[in-house]
């Protein structure tokens, strides 16, 4: 069952003029959140903005004994709610509802994990890496952004022995390409009998391209989708994803309940 907390802001760290990491004192949610799950955040009291917004849990914050003290979210300033979250100050209270949704399925060795992140789609992979590395799974992060200045948290992933493949649209860091290009190349080079799980989160176009590449190489792939979401609880039916029907056709399923993590080959990508 999800918990609703009026969480005090512990810290707000700007990463760029658009991105920030907001640390929130919501220990009960943090203690029960699994990698891939999300929280619904209301940036301010009152009716403007009215609705909560969904955010992947970015980090689980812990004290020196390892006890969860809160969680952080990775936010990109794109509208009224994320503007307020960008400007939040320590001590402000932010309503946090969670944890919600179905988490990633975490593989075990000898399966390797390749994560594909685009922009703010990096968010679910910090906690996923911790879970994978705790099991000794060899991991690679394919991470793409518009510019090198928008590639964040690289030291964290290096510190967890994550192999990094970077790409930027302006070519300032890594490959001057979309991130699916190096992914496709590395998949070509990998022996077919070496087991692998792909995890992807990012813009819809990147997820669709990743799903195509995964299918072509016969690799399983879990995607975390982002939809306009009204409630996070299954009440509003706004966050639907078209899923293949058993006998052709499709069904709309709510990504808050059936997702946000789906097997990539379940989804009908236009």
């Amino acid at each position: 069952m999800p918990i609703d907390v009026a969480a005090p802001v512990i810290a707000n760290r700007p990463l760029s003029s658009d991105y920030n990491v907001l640390a929130l004192a919501a220990p009960a949610i943090a203690a029960s959140a699994a990698p891939g799950q999300f929280v619904m955040v209301k940036a301010a009291a009152g009716f403007d903005p009215l609705l909560r917004r969904p955010f992947s849990v970015f980090e689980i914050l812990r004290d020196e004994t390892g006890t969860p003290t809160g969680l952080s979210i990775l936010s990109k300033r794109i509208g009224p709610s994320t503007r307020l979250l960008y400007d939040a100050r320590p001590g402000d209270r932010v309503a946090v509802l969670g944890p919600l949704g179905r988490p990633f399925t975490i593989v075990e060795p000898p399966v390797e994990a390749w994560m594909i992140a685009g922009g703010v789609g990096l968010a679910p992979f910090a906690t996923l890496v911790e879970a994978l590395r705790a099991r000794g799974v060899k991991t690679t992060l394919f991470y793409g952004a518009r510019t090198g200045a928008e590639l964040f948290h690289l030291d964290f992933f290096r510190a967890h022995d994550v192999d990094l493949a970077l790409a930027t649209e302006d070519g300032s860091v890594g490959e001057p390409a979309r991130i699916v290009s190096p992914l496709d190349r590395r998949l070509h080079a990998r022996p077919a009998d070496a087991p692998l799980m792909l995890y992807a989160c990012g813009p819809e176009g990147m997820l669709a391209a990743t799903a195509r590449v995964a299918k072509r190489h016969h690799r399983p792939c879990q995607v975390s989708v982002e939809r306009v979401m009204g409630c996070g609880m299954g009440g509003c039916y706004s966050c639907v994803v078209p899923i293949r029907g058993d006998h052709g056709g499709f069904h709309h399923v709510r990504s808050c309940l059936a997702g946000p993590v789906f097997a990539a080959d379940q989804i009908i990508w236009d």
Partner: protein, 312 residues
């Protein structure tokens, strides 16, 4: 403080109802909310067949409100009876089923199936969804259509019958009267206001259906006015809704003439709102020494005010 109210033959332990289309089939909230603590839950609208609804994006936020065009996605009445109703019965929820149709016959057929099912307390007749092409609002925007569909379903069921009215008409009270004359036990209003949001950078509509229904606190004063107008016109009980976000908002509808209220959009923001609403009503009743919340219904004081000694 007695919070119970009667919607015609339907008795509710309190006036707070979860609004259709905003609470799934109720089971989604069963772990978070004691479903039996609500006056009733109005489940998502049902046709005979399953429907997939419109593509995403289906909602967009507006000032103090939101626009939706879900397109009445639903599992169909038979799957509802088989898969959802048993759990709702076990949770002792008072279940109002929102009934949809593309034809008059479909409304009748769905209502008959629900009349034979165990655990349905009432039917809310959806003649007001603004987001589908056929049926629904076609009936709800014509006085004859409203009369015909309500009378046809009236003949087919003994369940309490509550047509849900659209505000997208010139005179909602005349539609309440048409429903009353056709045998409705109560009316519920308002459904959402047809509205539209455009992204000026891309010149594209913000939702896939181009237009949708506006809900939330922004519409509340209009909805209160419409409930008040209907209270002047019909004798049957009114279930009021439109932007209720706390107990005071709910009480405003009751003073205007609603016997019970539905809450929708506010549940998206706060899924734990239900006990807060009920407790807030009880506290108000005690503060104003009202023994029965039902005594508040339609108690609007429009007498000329005496000159007061203290400016207010």
């Amino acid at each position: 403080m007695d919070l119970s109210v009667a919607i015609g033959p339907l008795r509710l332990k309190n006036p707070v109802i979860a609004a259709s289309g905003c609470f799934g089939y109720g089971v989604e909230y069963a772990d978070a909310v004691d479903l039996s603590s609500l006056g009733a839950i109005a489940v998502k609208g049902l046709f005979l067949a399953e429907r997939e609804g419109h593509p995403a994006p289906r909602i967009v936020e507006t000032p103090a409100g939101m626009l939706n065009a879900i397109g009445l996605q639903g599992i169909g009445v038979r799957r509802f009876v088989d898969e959802k109703l048993p759990e709702l019965r076990a949770r002792q929820a008072t279940v109002i089923v929102n009934v949809c149709g593309t034809t008059l016959d479909e409304y009748v057929e769905v209502s008959k199936i629900l009349s034979d099912a165990e655990g349905v307390a009432a039917i809310e007749l959806n003649i007001s969804c603004p987001n589908i092409k056929e049926g629904g609002i076609q009936f709800g925007c014509s006085l004859h259509g409203t009369h015909d569909v309500v009378s046809a379903v009236r003949k087919a069921t003994r369940l309490p019958l509550i047509p849900k009215l659209t505000p997208n008409v010139t005179d909602v009270a005349s539609f309440a009267r048409a429903a009353e004359e056709a045998g409705a036990d109560a009316v519920s209003l308002v459904n959402t206001f047809l509205a539209m949001v455009i992204d000026v950078e891309t010149r594209r509509p913000k939702i896939s259906n181009i237009v949708g229904g506006l809900s939330g606190p922004a519409i509340r004063p209009i909805a209160v006015r419409m409930v008040y107008e209907c209270r002047q016109t019909v004798k049957v009980p009114i279930v009021g809704m439109g932007g209720i976000a706390d107990a005071r908002d709910a009480l405003e509808f009751m003073i205007a003439g609603a016997t019970a209220v539905q809450v929708g959009t506010a549940n998206f923001v706060d899924p734990f709102i239900w006990p807060k609403l009920v407790d807030g009503m009880r506290a108000y009743g005690e503060r104003h020494r009202i023994e029965r919340i039902a005594d508040l219904v339609g108690s609007l004081d429009t007498r000329k005010r005496d000159h007061e000694w203290i400016s207010s």
